[in-house]
């Protein structure tokens, strides 16, 4: 079992519904967010290309954040979900420095907080909050280990990319072109 996400960038309109859904579902403090929208413009005028990426923790296979944690508060949970045990976190900030995606932040209570892939929902067979509210249905969630799952088939069939593959973290969020 390895949870992952596939996001169709050509369908995403950048409405930020995923961001708001996450904040509501996970009671994220006001002003904070576990996911965000990046607008990317590339090319040379007049041949410009614009697309949106809904970004969050990539729940990497090779996790620099877990490696640098001095207490073991950062850990990889079942299904490859990267999580933080709040009571074991000392708030040293090493994982925030280690993450190339800026996916972690200090919660106002002091511990480090981040996307959990809505573990409380996905273990019950539901989709994460962000995926479930997407109005254009551009986000897909599922088991990457199962070659027959809808998400595995999508990733196999479509050209895709991950963010900063050169960081060597093996991200588990795939953006479909």
């Amino acid at each position: 079992m390895r949870y992952g996400m596939a996001i169709e960038v050509n369908k995403c309109v950048g409405c930020a519904d995923c961001v708001v859904a996450c904040q509501t579902e996970n009671n994220v403090p006001i002003g904070y967010s576990r996911d965000w929208i990046m607008e990317k413009v590339t090319g040379k005028y007049p041949n410009l290309d614009l697309h949106f990426e809904s970004q969050r923790c990539n729940h990497c296979i090779d996790t620099p954040c877990v490696r640098t944690c001095p207490t073991g508060a950062s850990f990889v949970s079942d299904g490859g979900i990267v999580r933080v045990t709040h009571d074991e976190c000392i708030g040293c900030g090493a994982c925030i420095e280690a993450c190339p995606y800026d996916a972690r932040y200090f919660h106002p209570d002091g511990y480090v907080d981040k996307c959990t892939f809505c573990e409380h929902r996905v273990t019950e067979g539901l989709n994460p909050a962000c995926v479930s509210v997407c109005p254009t249905d551009c986000m897909h969630f599922g088991d990457l280990d199962d070659p027959e799952s809808a998400i595995s088939k999508l990733i196999a069939a479509r050209e895709n990319f991950t963010i900063l593959p050169e960081a060597g973290t093996a991200p588990q969020i795939f953006y479909l072109k």
């Binding site: 001095p70 508060a73 060597g168």
Partner: protein
């Protein structure tokens, strides 16, 4: 053209506009760790070479300060934690892959050595103080002696330490090198920050730490021979440091775009002046020249080059901690 715009608000403390979760306390902590490592390194090396009577300040007196330096460093580290009430958990686990964990434990080992080392020299320290007429500190040495005479356990520990001082010196040498290198490894372990992520940073911080250690001895020692020797050593260390710095920047310049951008922070970017003029100019080259002039017989106030090296060492860590956090990959 490539333009990435964050289109949802994410002005989170410590993340916006770029990662900045480590500030002055961490820079100062790295500086104090390096300084303590340098002082202990000289103390053990000269002790193991049988120079304990030729270089009394280096071997016996300077290590007195290291316990205080390490403790201040530890307090700064704990002060910088955001979930400080849970900080004890740093000392209930050891994680071999985490530099932060290595640092916390190394500091504990070094602080034990730096406490026991001067205690084992209490007679010599008292004699040294009396020689200089500093009788005001007699109270402290008397108190330590009283504890040693009255309580069995402290006496046993100190006597054992004195008996096996040579073994202890080897262990202390090893742990001080670990401490010195660790202060650089703590930063170079993060591949999310190209400026930090190079293998020269560990040795560079070690050399810089040893250099501040020699400057510390040079500054406070009254022994002319000791000072001259430390001055010579410091000249060599500054030369090595300059070589490493050039090498580090050359390595980044020869790297990928992210590394070239990291080097650009020092080559025209916002840290250019403070790095080359203030740190390299006033913190390395000027003390190098002053120390060389002093050895040639010119009269230079001994505190001047030493303080420049010490302030330069602190500034170097402030620059590296801050500039490193700016240096990021575009996501």
């Amino acid at each position: 053209m490539e333009e990435y715009i964050l289109s949802t608000s994410r002005e989170i403390y410590g993340l916006y506009p770029h990662v900045h979760v480590w500030g002055f306390p961490i820079s100062a902590y790295l500086f104090l760790g390096g300084l303590a490592a340098g002082i202990l390194l000289f103390a053990t090396i000269y002790y193991l070479n049988g120079k304990e009577d030729d270089m009394p300040f280096t071997v016996k007196i300077a290590p007195i300060f290291t316990f205080g330096l390490v403790m201040v460093g530890l307090v700064l580290l704990l002060y910088d934690l955001h979930h400080v009430l849970y900080s004890w958990q740093l000392f209930t686990t050891f994680r071999i892959e985490s530099p932060m964990s290595w640092g916390a434990w190394t500091l504990i080992v070094v602080s034990i050595f730096s406490l026991l080392w001067p205690l084992s020299y209490i007679d010599d320290i008292e004699a040294y103080l009396h020689e200089r007429g500093w009788k005001r500190l007699d109270g402290i040495t008397k108190f330590i002696r009283n504890v040693e005479h009255k309580w069995l356990l402290p006496r046993f520990i100190i006597l054992t330490f004195r008996k096996y001082r040579k073994v202890a010196a080897y262990l202390m040498l090893f742990s001080s090198i670990i401490l010195g290198i660790y202060t650089g490894i703590l930063l170079s372990a993060f591949n999310a920050h190209p400026l930090w992520n190079n293998s020269i940073l560990g040795p560079l911080f070690l050399v810089s730490g040893i250099s501040t250690g020699s400057a510390f001895v040079m500054w406070l020692s009254n022994n002319h021979k000791e000072r001259a020797l430390m001055s010579k050593i410091d000249i060599a260390l500054i030369a090595v440091e300059l070589f490493f710095i050039i090498h580090m920047i050359m390595g980044m310049q020869a790297g990928t775009e992210a590394y070239r951008q990291a080097a650009h922070l020092f080559l025209g970017g916002e840290y250019t002046v403070i790095f080359w003029v203030v740190f390299v100019g006033f913190g390395l080259v000027l003390p190098f020249i002053l120390e060389a002039l002093e050895l040639k017989g010119f009269k230079v106030h001994p505190a001047l080059p030493a303080l420049l090296v010490l302030l330069g060492g602190l500034l170097f860590r402030i620059i590296m901690v801050n500039a490193g956090q700016i240096s990021e990959f575009p996501i």
